[in-house]
Amino acid sequence: MSSKNRRNIKTIKTQKQNGQLVISLNPKIYPLEAIYGACYVFVDRAYLFLDGDPKKEIKVFIEGKRKLDSKKLEELAGEFKNELLDYVLRTAIAKNTKKIRETIVEKALFSAFPSEETSEEEHIESDPLGIAVPWEEKYGEKK
């Protein structure tokens, strides 16, 4: 993509301020979960801070743990945008497959685990209140 086209993208705005990046995102295009996910990937290399309004605009402030020159900052911005795209897809896959995935996993786990139900005999053996003991045994024959 040419730098001219890049500048025309309105859903992402990138600024460089005092050695840090400020990336402004449209939350209708980039869900908050995807932004969190992408930010997390960079915690080994950068300090990140989020601000803005989740309904209007999210601002991501990124500062390198080591001082980054202008070129390195630009590279970091590019990497962040790619990671963000990956996270948008991950979020979409998770959302669209959530229900059926839960059903499949639940069914698999239910079938895989040994049943915890006990036999009728075991229930009678653990009869602490003596409910299963016949009247005659408890109180003797009726006269």
Binding site: Y40, R45, L89, N96, T97, A108, L109, F113
Partner: protein, 473 residues
């Protein structure tokens, strides 16, 4: 709208790697990945058929076969260890040792300290507690210090376990982790007679091994261990057990990747486990001296693994354990149940560690921290607590929660989730928190890089053939 089954992915080189909950994986070219996620792949295309066969497409992901495989995977993997209770019981019978290893994980003490031996009343209580486990399978592992230094208690425990098992009828296994320097014929005959498997420690060639693991009497620890391995191999020939050895990698080991592998081949050991140094025991204080970065270790691992594959191609039979386990997870539905690479980890629910004084810990790593004066992972003591109190501890529950990958930031969406595992005790020791910050975590960095490398190797027909051969044996 996404028209696929559930999958995780990452870009690896020029391709995209996709994995699913079954542990199946596929590499896609950029163009195919784009078409697949947009639902534009044609059903007649070979790549679609491959995706369909491996349950990545929406249709095959919902099919009965996929459901059956997932059930089977959970049954052989999570079903077993989550519902059965602790099967691995590690007993530290003494803290005494005739070695003074630079990185000693067990924080061992010298041979005169007999007050650090487990005594019979404690051993009796330990065995009683082991038999309260709900697991139908029991593996008693003797560790130290040097367990052969308190051999009387090893014999006492084995005999008592065998006696109790006449009634309990559990599936039993014994193993002993030893330097083998105190192994004489009498002990070896007894261990062989009871079919106790033996695992030793061998760091590599003589100079490196002796530097890492000096003996207190100044003699060569390398010679003592090699002699022990040879004797045991000879004696155990009639049993199906293999004598194993573990390597502990220090900074000095890194340039010696070839010599280390050669040493294992020379001794006829079939497996080598290339694992990084743990931050426990003395190693934590000496990390700067002995340690290295994640990248340094990964470079060492890659060189050694390439060499191992080369040796295999030349007909020399030696396997690397991490690669073998990952291959088993990626190509079969039968999980190796290795406690470091499973979710949740084994702490408290798969294993318990008993200290010489009867203290019970979630795992051996937790016990090592306990020995260093941090009792965070202590669950109780066999003299004071019941099995129920030990097993229902909040500590066990916390570790279970902190090692279930699906609930962890950085893990839940990682492409390698089906093959990986975390160690909350490691995280606690390194970061002061049982929940790790994945991108900054040493283990995560090592695991991710090794997995990147292995999955690339799976794409190489020659290497793949070797990995599959390892699985068939």
């Amino acid at each position: 709208m996404i028209k696929t089954g559930f999958f995780r992915f990452k870009k690896l080189g020029q391709k995209y790697l996709l994995t699913n909950d079954l542990g199946d994986f596929i590499f896609l070219q950029k163009k195919d990945f784009k078409n697949f996620k947009e639902g534009k792949l044609k059903e007649e295309a070979s790549v679609y058929k491959e995706l369909d066969k491996k349950h990545f497409t929406s249709k095959s992901w919902r099919c009965e076969n996929c459901q059956a495989r997932l059930t089977n995977r959970y049954a052989s993997y999570r079903g077993k260890y989550l519902s059965q209770g602790p099967g691995l019981h590690i007993i530290v019978v003494t803290l005494r040792c005739d070695h003074a290893c630079r990185y000693c994980h067990a924080s061992s003490k010298n041979m005169t300290r007999t007050d650090l031996d487990m005594q019979e009343p404690t051993a009796k209580k330990v065995v009683d507690m082991i038999f309260e486990t709900t697991s139908p399978f029991i593996n008693v592992e003797f560790q130290g210090g040097e367990p052969l230094a308190n051999f009387g208690i090893v014999k006492f425990i084995v005999n008592r376990v065998l006696e109790k098992n006449k009634k309990a009828k559990k599936e039993l296994r014994f193993s002993l982790v030893s330097t083998l320097s105190l192994l004489d014929d009498k002990k070896l005959n007894w261990l062989h007679g009871k079919k106790i498997s033996i695992c030793s420690s061998l760091d590599g060639p003589e100079k490196l091994h002796n530097k890492n693991r000096p003996k207190l009497d100044g003699k060569s620890s390398y010679r003592a261990t090699c002699q022990g391995i040879k004797k045991t191999k000879k004696k155990y020939k009639d049993l199906h057990y293999q004598v194993n050895a573990l390597i502990t990698t220090t900074g000095d080991s890194l340039p010696l990747w070839k010599e280390i592998v050669d040493e294992y081949v020379k001794l006829g050991l079939r497996d080598i486990h290339l694992r990084p140094l743990n931050p426990f025991g003395m190693a934590k204080g000496l990390q700067k001296l002995l340690g290295y970065s994640a990248q340094d270790f990964v470079t060492f691992y890659k060189k050694a693994l390439d060499y191992i594959i080369e040796l295999n191609l030349r007909g020399i039979d030696i396997r690397e354990r991490i690669a073998k386990m990952i291959a088993q997870k990626a190509f079969t539905d039968n999980d190796p149940n290795f406690l470091d690479l499973r979710s949740p980890c084994g702490a408290g629910i798969g294993q318990l560690a008993y200290h010489y004084n009867g203290d019970v810990y979630t795992c051996d790593e937790g016990r090592m921290l306990g020995q260093m004066g941090d009792g965070t992972f202590k669950l109780g003591n066999v003299h004071k607590n019941t099995y129920k109190e030990i097993i229902s501890s909040e500590v066990t529950k916390s570790l279970c929660l902190a090692s279930t990958l699906e609930g962890l930031t950085g893990c839940s969406d990682c492409v390698y989730l089906p093959y990986c595992g975390v160690c909350p005790v490691f995280n606690y020791s390194e970061e002061g928190n049982i929940f790790a910050q994945a991108p900054n975590n040493f283990r995560c960095q090592v695991n991710k890089s090794i997995l990147d490398y292995l999955f690339r190797k799976f794409e190489t027909p020659e290497a793949l053939k070797i990995f599959k051969k390892w699985l068939s044996k």
